[in-house]
Structure formats: C-alpha cells, structure tokens
Symmetry: C2
Subunit: 359 residues, 2 copies
C-alpha cells in the first residue's frame, strides 16, 4: 500500500477551527490519509495556560470557538515548521496579510511534492499594485501548487451543521477527489473544478459588488436598484475574468464561489453594512472600517482600488462602469448619485456573456 | 410619412397605471406614434362617479394609484373593443385569469397586423395541465404576435422614479426598437432580446425558487442554505428552459427577467413570505394564500404544480430535484426537511451550463 497522505492545517481562527472538524473526521475514516492532523496555532496565553495546551487537552479552541469540540486527532502546535514539515497537503487558513511571512518561514522546510490549499478569503497587494491572488502568492513563495476552497460558507453556519456549499478550484487533477473527500461533510457540500483562478477571483470581486449593493441600501434605493447592482456586477465579473484570467469557464460562475457567494454578500455581508454606514453617516471609510469591521479580510474599497489599478493599466475603466463607479465613490471623486447613473447609462453590448463566452 | 402607430393599454391596475406614464410620455415625444393612448379601465363607481370619468377629468386613477398623475394623453374607456380596435400595439396588463375572456371579446375586432405586448406576470393553466405562457395564450386567441415585458420592476418603485430594469422578449425584429422606446424612461432601463419564451418562463419559474427560499427562511436555515436554493434553482431554470423551450440563449438569464428578478424575489417577494408563513404557522397553503397574498398573480405552489406536471410527462422529476421537492413539500408528500436533503444530494453533473449550452 502506498504511503498515507499527511494533512496539516495552518491557522486556528473561526474558519480554520470549523473546517478542522471536517478534516479531522474525514482523515480518521480514510484509508488514504494519516489519521493525525497537525494544526498550527498562533500561541497565546489564556488565563495562565498556553492555547496549544488547552486545545490538546480539552479539544476546544477557547479563543475562537469556545462551544465547539475538535476531533481528537487534531493536534495543536505553536511552530509552523513543526506543523507542516511532514505534510503532503497544507491547508492555509490564516489572515491574508500573514501569508507572505508564513511562506517565508516554510520555504525549503516543506515536502517538495506537497500540495497547498488556500481557504483564505481575500488577496494581497502585488508589487505592481494589482491584485495578487493568495494561491498565486503561496505558489510563488513555496514553489508548490496551491488549490483554493471558497464559497458561500459562513463559519458559524458550517460549525452549527447548517447546510453550506464550497467550491474547490483544484490545480492538480489527481487531488480533485482527495480534496473533495477531505473537506466535505453531510452538511457541507463541496464541488471541485479545475478553474482555480476563476474560483478565487469571483470570491474577491463580490466584495466590490456587495459594497455597491450597500451603497444602494444606504441611499434607500430599494430592491430594483439593488438587483440592478447585482446583475451588472455579475456581468462585470464575467468580463473581468475574461480579460485578466482568460480561459475560465462560464460554469464556474454558477458554483457556490460565484452566484451564491455574490447574492449572500449583497444581502448579509460586512461590505454591504460598511457601505450602508458610509452613506448614512457620511464618515470617512477608514474610520468606519476599523469601527464596523475590525479584522483582516480585505473589503470592498480596497478591492475596488486594486481592481481599478488593473483596469486603468489596460485603459478599461469605462468598460467596467460599476467597478469604476464604486471605486470613485469610495475616493470621493464621484457623488453617490453616480451609482444609479452608472446603471442607467452603462452600455449593454459589452456585457453579453454570449460575446465573452461565445456559444 | 407613414401612418403613425396607435398604442392602447388594456388594464388599469398598479402596473398598468405605472407604465401608462412612460407610454404616454414616450408617444407624446415620438414622431412615429399617435399621441393619444386609449386605456381600458374596468368600470367601477367610486363615490358616485364612474372611474373612467374620474381618470379622464382628473388624470388620476383613484382606485389603484391615488397619488400618481397620468399624462393627459392617456384616455380611459370602459369598453375593451373601443379601446383596442384602432391600435397597432396592444399592451396587456390585466390579471392572467382575465386574459382568455378578454381575447375572446377582442377576436376579430383588432387590426390584423397589430402587435401585442404582455406585461402580465404569471401564466395560465393549459388544457393539458401544463404551463401556458400568457404570450402564447394571446397569440393563440388573437392570432397576432405577442411580445413580453417583464423583469425586476416593482410597480411602486417604478412609479416613484426609482431605478428599475425590464426585459422585453420581442417576437418581431422590427418592433424591437419601437417597444424599447415605448416603455423606457430615464429611470426605467429596458433591454430587448428576441428570446421571448425564455424571458417569460424565467419570470415564472422564479416563483418556485422564491417559495423554496422562503421555506429555508421559515426553517431558519440561514444564508448559506438560502444561497444554495437560489443557485440550484437558477441551474434548474437553465435546464428547464433547455428542455421545454429549446433554442434559448444563456445571455437571457443575465437580464433583469433572469438573475435580477430571481434574487429580488428570494429576498422580498410574496412567495417567499407565503412559504415562510407556511413553515412557521403550519396552516394549509390555500388559507395562507387568501390571507397573505390576495390577488391574481399565480404563486409558488401552483407554479410548482404545473411545472411538476410538465416534468412528470417527460419522466424528469428526478433531474429537477429542487422544483420537485418544492412541489412535494407543498402537497405534504415530503417533509420540510427534504429541502436540505435535496440540496445535499442533488447530482451535480446534470446541471453544468457548459453541458446545457456547450461553449
């Protein structure tokens, strides 16, 4: 029998902890996998005890998920190299801003044939000011392939065993089934595609659209306008992927990473709330961000900024009127009223998915 | 110069009255159109006066839109034949159950080269128990082509000059621009396609999906589940159109009649509320329907029933698990819990739009 695959999880926040239950249970029931899963935990002292010790003795991540019991085969370590050095599959679930330094620490210390999976929602700012997908950053730094798992799956809903879906964008054909079996559960449905860039960028662009939807909410423009923002945002997403990540497939937009994540974000997400508050209070965005959405996930305004840089380099601002309008409203260049003007006057012909993806 | 086109509106409810403002203003400013627009009003006595007389003297439809002034060139008639006999374009905006009798009255009394446009959201039950699209019913009865205008455009939002979008499915190439110019306004964006069946059936199938979303809301299954219902419903819509209205185009689903109308319905629509109440109260659907949604528009349960008849005739129930589950939950054959089971176990491969619409 071939050697079993060893899996580790790098990260110990809500989402890392939530997914650790699925991963722990799945490897324990698999003939292909090593039953023990190492988990890298950023060490903290909680009431006089180390967090790693608490997790390893009580199987509870008291810092992030105090009501949630981890499988016994998840073992916490405070050192990322110890956690990852024997792993064949490295699951990254840390804030995007920590990825670069984490990879620098790991470079040369992981198995050369290891496969990474990013569960990170967000992106980094590339040296050129453009969006750098987290999976690209990991691949560049660690020199190993990196798949992604994103989708419409709020951690607290998954941890409560509510139904949720995720999409894996897998960069190695032979890992497609392995990764699906690693993450899925009875209530967490996982669909795998090889369209990895599209999966990841969909999940990123929705931040802009949800922010736009929140602007409409803040202006109390009602359901029709919000639906217009969502529709146009979806079409600009198709077009953006076609320009910047060519070769993507239309089917990917119908997965959880696309349609589901977009719709949910436009009704429930933090970007939406941030935009609504921006309109209603008139306060600067940076003040509201730290007030309303403390954390590490990049938000609509910064996504819009980086996307704008990418569009500008290609002279495409006018072909993406919604993305452009959201950026310029964030920076005060456009008044709020420009959001609806954009929906009213945007050219229709450039958007047709039949043009982008000829049938 | 060619003869100007004469336009009439058949109906005087909220939506008929709302759109009459756009139509009245647009014909008044057009070189192609007769400036006077006849409007058929179901006669009623309001505080001792005929409704048609009130409308013609005050330009206010006191019955349905008391705060809304109609253009002066909209002239009310209490007789549908008088209203329509000189018309080149007949705009139907009456409840779906009245269409059949109205067409019988009009048969042989309208211009043989007239063009109809249905603004009716809904459908009729065909003799075979299947869905009969309203535009098909009008064409069959009146022997003239019938286009449709539907989309994400709640009457009260359009009448308040909030932004909204509509989709015209046009059955005659030479009317495409004419109809767009007839209905649009600065705040009402109208996109025209020739994919008329797809436009109309999209707008119908969303009733089932919104009902499914409401079931999820009623069970308090949270955002991820609801997003799963929307995603699956969208995919089953693609597939349903492919089976029953072949030759439709994927681009049509991205218009207001598709994505926008679906999303809005799943968050704000009466079907959603009906389903939520069905779960929370346990009362029979027919009692709740008359209580919560008095009116003429067909709702999720009856849409699901007719769709189920269509699927059953082709032996396709299992290939449309969400539509089938909603129907069977409505009739008590399935327990509520089956909704999530459906999302969990539905086969993925049958849905791929790349299969349905090969790229």
């Amino acid at each position: 029998m071939a050697d079993r695959l060893n899996v580790c999880i790098i990260g110990s926040g809500n989402w890392a902890t939530t997914i650790a239950r699925n991963v722990g249970n799945n490897v324990a029931n698999s003939q292909l996998m090593e039953p023990k899963v190492n988990m890298y935990v950023y060490e903290e002292i909680i009431e006089g005890r180390k967090l790693t010790e608490i997790i390893n003795s009580t199987h509870i991540n008291v810092k992030y998920m105090p009501d949630f019991v981890l499988p016994m085969n998840i073992v916490a370590y405070d050192d990322v190299v110890t956690t990852a050095r024997d792993a064949d599959i490295l699951i990254f679930a840390i804030p995007p801003t920590f990825v670069n330094s984490c990879c620098k620490t790991l470079l040369g210390k992981v198995k050369p044939l290891a496969h990474a999976v990013s569960l990170i929602k967000g992106f980094e700012r590339g040296d050129d000011g453009q969006i750098l997908l987290i999976s690209h950053l990991i691949m560049r730094q660690l020199k190993i392939p990196c798949s992604v798992l994103v989708g419409c799956n709020l951690a607290h809903e998954v941890s409560n065993n509510n139904f949720a879906e995720g999409t894996i964008g897998c960069r190695d054909q032979k890992y497609m089934r392995i990764l699906q079996d690693l993450f899925k559960s009875n209530t967490f449905r996982v669909v795998v595609t090889d369209d990895a860039d599209c999966v990841e960028i969909c999940s990123t662009l929705r931040n802009i659209i949800a922010f736009g939807a929140g602007l409409a909410d803040g202006m109390e423009l009602n359901e029709n306008t919000k639906a217009g923002v969502i529709r146009r945002g979806f079409l600009e997403t198709l077009q953006f992927v076609d320009v910047f990540y060519p070769g993507s497939r239309l089917a990917t937009f119908f997965e959880s990473c696309g349609l589901s994540d977009l719709v949910t974000s436009c009704y429930a997400n933090r970007n939406r709330k941030l935009a609504e508050a921006f309109v209603k209070t008139g306060q600067p965005l940076n003040e509201l961000e730290s007030l309303l959405v403390p954390g590490h996930e990049p938000l609509g305004p910064v996504t819009a900024e980086l996307v704008h840089i990418m569009l500008k380099k290609k002279g495409l601002e006018e072909k993406f009127p919604l993305f452009t309008a959201v950026f310029r409203i964030c920076t005060g260049v456009y008044p709020l009223s420009r959001l609806v003007e954009t929906l009213r006057y945007a050219r229709e012909d450039i958007y047709h998915p039949n043009h982008i993806f000829p049938l």
